[in-house]
Amino acid sequence: MEFKFTQENLDKIKDILKKYPTKKAAVMPVLYLGQEQNSWISKEVMVEVATVLEITEEEVFGVVTFYTMFYEKPVGQKHFQVCTNVSCMLKGGYDIYNQVKEKLGLENWGVSEDKRFSLEEVECMGSCGTAPMIAVNEDYYENITQEKVNEIIESLKSKN
C-alpha cells in the first residue's frame, strides 16, 4: 500500500526539523507522525520517512526495529498494554494480564479479527506506585481491579 505524508504532516515535519541540527535526528518524531497517519510502520512508511529526511532506508529500518513503540505489524484500534513487571506483578499484574488475554481472546501481540483490539504485555510503564495498571493506546488506567478491567473492556466493546 502506498504511503505519502499528508500536507499537514509535512508542515509538522518542517517544524520538527527546526529543533535539530541534522535531518537524521528527526527520524523518531517523524516516524511517530507516520505511525499516527498509517496506524503502524509499514515498509512504505519507512521509505517515505527516508525520502523526506534524505537518509537511507536502512537507517530508518534500524531505528524502527530498535524501539518497541514503533509497531512493525498492525495493531488494533484499541491497543491494550498490560504491565507485568515487578511492582505490578506483586500487586496481581499477571492476574490482570491473563484476564485481559481471556476477555479479548488474544495472545501477546495478537490482534482481533475485526482489528479493533490488540494486546501487548509491556515492561514497566512507570506506574509502580499505582500498580497494577493497564494502558489503552495513550491512556493509563491505574490502581486497576478485575472489575475495572471488565468495565473498560465492556464499554470499549459496546462503542463503535
Binding site: Y20, A25, M28, V63, M69, V86, C124, T130, D139
Partner: protein, 440 residues
C-alpha cells in the same frame, strides 16, 4: 521538613502560581552572576545526580570545556524506565516550571544554547503536560530569544522535548544521545565522555529531571542552606517512590539519610496485613536487594546504602512481604533486562538470556544447586564486561539475591542434578536434543 522539588502548593504546575511562589526569580538571580559562580555554588551545595549514579552535579558541569568553537548541549534525562521508579513523572506533572527554570540555569552555567528534555514515549500524558508548561513559559518570554528582553541579558536558550519510543537503555546517557541523534539507542564506549564528545560530537551534559529540578532552589536559597539538608555527603531531598506490598504506595519527598524503615512504616503506612518483610529493593530493580530481617538502621543515602551493600539508584523502594515468591520476582526482573539488553555486547546479550532460562528452569521445579552457582557465575561474567551499566543492572539483582537468600533458593532446588537423559553431556544442554526422547 521543607520540600524542595514537590512542595505542597496547589496548582503549582500553572505558571502564575509558580511565579507567585517566587518562580523564575532564580534564573534572574543566576543571570546576574557569572556562569562559573553558578557551577561553583552547585558544586559546594553537594547536589548529586538523582538518576542512579549519584555523581556530583556541579563537578559534572565543570567538565564542560570553557572555550570551544562547537555548540554545547544539555540533555535532561526523563526516560525513567527503571522498574520501581516513578518520580520524574511527578515533577513533569506537578512542578514542570521548576524543571524548566532549572534547565535554563543549567544551560547558562554550562553555556548551552539548546536543551533536549528526553521523556519516555509511554508518558504521552506527561509529555503533553510538560509541553503545555513549555508553551506557557515560551509565551511569557522566559525561554528562547525573548529571554533577552525579559531578563535584560545576552543569554538565550531553547528547550525541546524529545520523545522516546520504549527503550529502557535510552536512559543511559550515551544511548540517550544516540537516540536524540536519530540512531539506534546503542550506548557509546567511554571515553570520550559526553563533556568532550557528546551530541553530534559537541560538548554535552546529561542530568536527571529530579537533579535539574533541585537547581533553582539552590540558587534561590544558597548552597549553604542546601548542603545542610539531610546527610552531609549526599545532601538534599530525594523523591522516594515506594511500591509493592505497601499500604500507601506513592512518591515521598524526604531528606537523604531517612531511615528505610521509617519510609516503609512511618510514611508509606507499613505492609498490608502487618506481614513481615522478606525483601526490599532500595533503589529500583537493578540495585542489590536487601534482606527484610536486616533493614534496621539502614539510612537512605549513597554512603549508608553502600555500607549496607546496596545503592540508592533512583530511589525506587520495592517492598516484598513474606509470602512473595522470590524466584518469580528474580525471573521477572531478569526477563526485563533480557528484553531491554540492546544486544551490542555479547556478555549482556547472551548472559541475560541464560539467566532467564536458568531461572525459569528453577521456577518449573527442575532446578538444582548447581543452577544457583551457575547463575552467580553467569552474572559475574556479565558484570564489568559490557560497554554500559545495563550489564551490572542485570547481574546485580541475580548475584545479590541468590547470595543473600541462598537458604531460600536452596529450598526451591534439588541438591542433585536430575538428568533428562543418561548421557551427561547431552543432558547438560538446555535446548531440546533431537535424541532426548529415545528411550534406552
Amino acid at each position: 521538613m521543607e520540600k524542595i522539588v514537590l512542595p505542597d502548593i496547589e496548582n503549582l504546575h500553572k505558571l502564575e502560581v509558580y511565579k507567585k511562589n517566587g518562580g523564575y526569580s532564580s534564573i534572574k538571580k543566576a543571570l546576574s552572576q557569572s556562569a562559573d559562580d553558578i557551577i561553583e555554588q552547585v558544586k559546594k551545595s553537594g547536589l548529586r545526580g538523582r538518576g542512579g549514579a549519584a555523581f556530583l552535579a556541579g563537578l559534572k558541569w565543570s567538565f564542560m570545556p570553557k572555550t570551544t568553537d562547537k555548540p554545547k548541549y544539555l540533555c535532561v534525562n526523563g526516560d525513567e524506565s527503571e522498574p520501581g521508579s516513578f518520580k520524574d513523572r511527578q515533577v513533569l506533572e506537578f512542578n514542570p516550571h521548576q524543571l524548566i527554570e532549572g534547565t535554563l540555569i543549567t544551560c547558562y552555567a554550562i553555556g548551552a544554547k539548546v536543551a533536549y528534555v528526553y521523556i519516555r514515549g509511554e508518558y504521552h500524558k506527561w509529555i503533553k503536560l510538560f509541553q503545555t508548561a513549555l508553551d506557557e513559559a515560551y509565551a511569557s518570554g522566559f525561554i528562547g530569544e525573548k529571554m533577552k528582553d525579559t531578563f535584560k541579558t545576552d543569554f538565550s536558550c531553547e528547550v525541546y522535548i524529545h520523545k522516546g519510543a520504549g527503550a529502557y537503555i535510552c536512559g543511559e546517557e550515551s544511548s540517550l544521545m544516540n537516540s536524540i541523534e536519530g540512531h539506534r539507542g546503542y550506548p557509546r564506549v567511554k571515553p570520550p565522555f559526553p563533556a568532550q564528545n557528546g551530541l553530534w560530537g559537541c560538548p554535552t551534559t546529561i542530568n536527571n529531571v529530579e537533579t535539574i529540578a533541585n537547581v533553582p532552589k539552590i540558587i534561590e536559597k544558597g548552597w549553604e542552606w542546601y548542603s545542610k539538608i539531610g546527610e552531609p555527603k549526599h545532601p538534599g531531598t530525594i523523591l522516594f517512590g515506594v511500591s509493592g506490598h505497601i499500604n500507601k504506595p506513592g512518591v515521598y519527598e524526604l531528606p537523604t539519610g531517612t531511615l528505610l524503615t521509617d519510609i516503609i512504616y512511618k510514611y508509606a503506612g507499613g505492609v498490608p496485613g502487618d506481614k513481615k518483610i522478606l525483601c526490599v529493593i532500595p533503589g529500583g530493580s537493578s540495585m542489590p536487594p536487601l534482606r527484610g530481617d536486616k533493614l534496621e538502621g539502614i539510612k537512605m543515602d549513597t554512603e549508608s546504602l553502600k555500607e549496607a551493600g546496596s545503592a540508592i539508584g533512583t530511589g525506587g523502594v520495592i517492598v516484598m512481604d513474606e509470602d512473595t515468591d522470590l524466584v518469580k520476582v528474580l525471573a521477572r526482573i531478569s526477563k526485563f533486562y533480557y528484553h531491554e539488553s540492546c544486544g551490542q555486547c555479547t556478555p549482556c546479550r547472551e548472559g541475560t538470556s541464560w539467566l532467564v532460562r536458568i531461572l525459569n528452569r528453577i521456577l518449573d521445579g527442575n532446578g538444582s544447586s548447581h543452577d544457583l552457582d551457575m547463575l552467580i557465575d553467569v552474572a559475574t561474567n556479565i558484570e564489568g564486561n559490557t560497554i554500559c551499566a545495563l550489564g551490572e543492572a542485570a547481574a546485580w539483582p541475580v548475584r545479590f539475591m541468590i547470595t543473600r537468600f541462598r537458604d531460600y533458593f536452596e529450598q526451591r532446588v534439588s541438591k542433585e542434578i536430575t538428568l533428562p537423559v543418561k548421557n551427561k553431556v547431552h543432558s547438560m544442554r538446555n535446548t531440546a536434543f533431537p535424541l532426548a526422547d529415545i528411550k534406552d
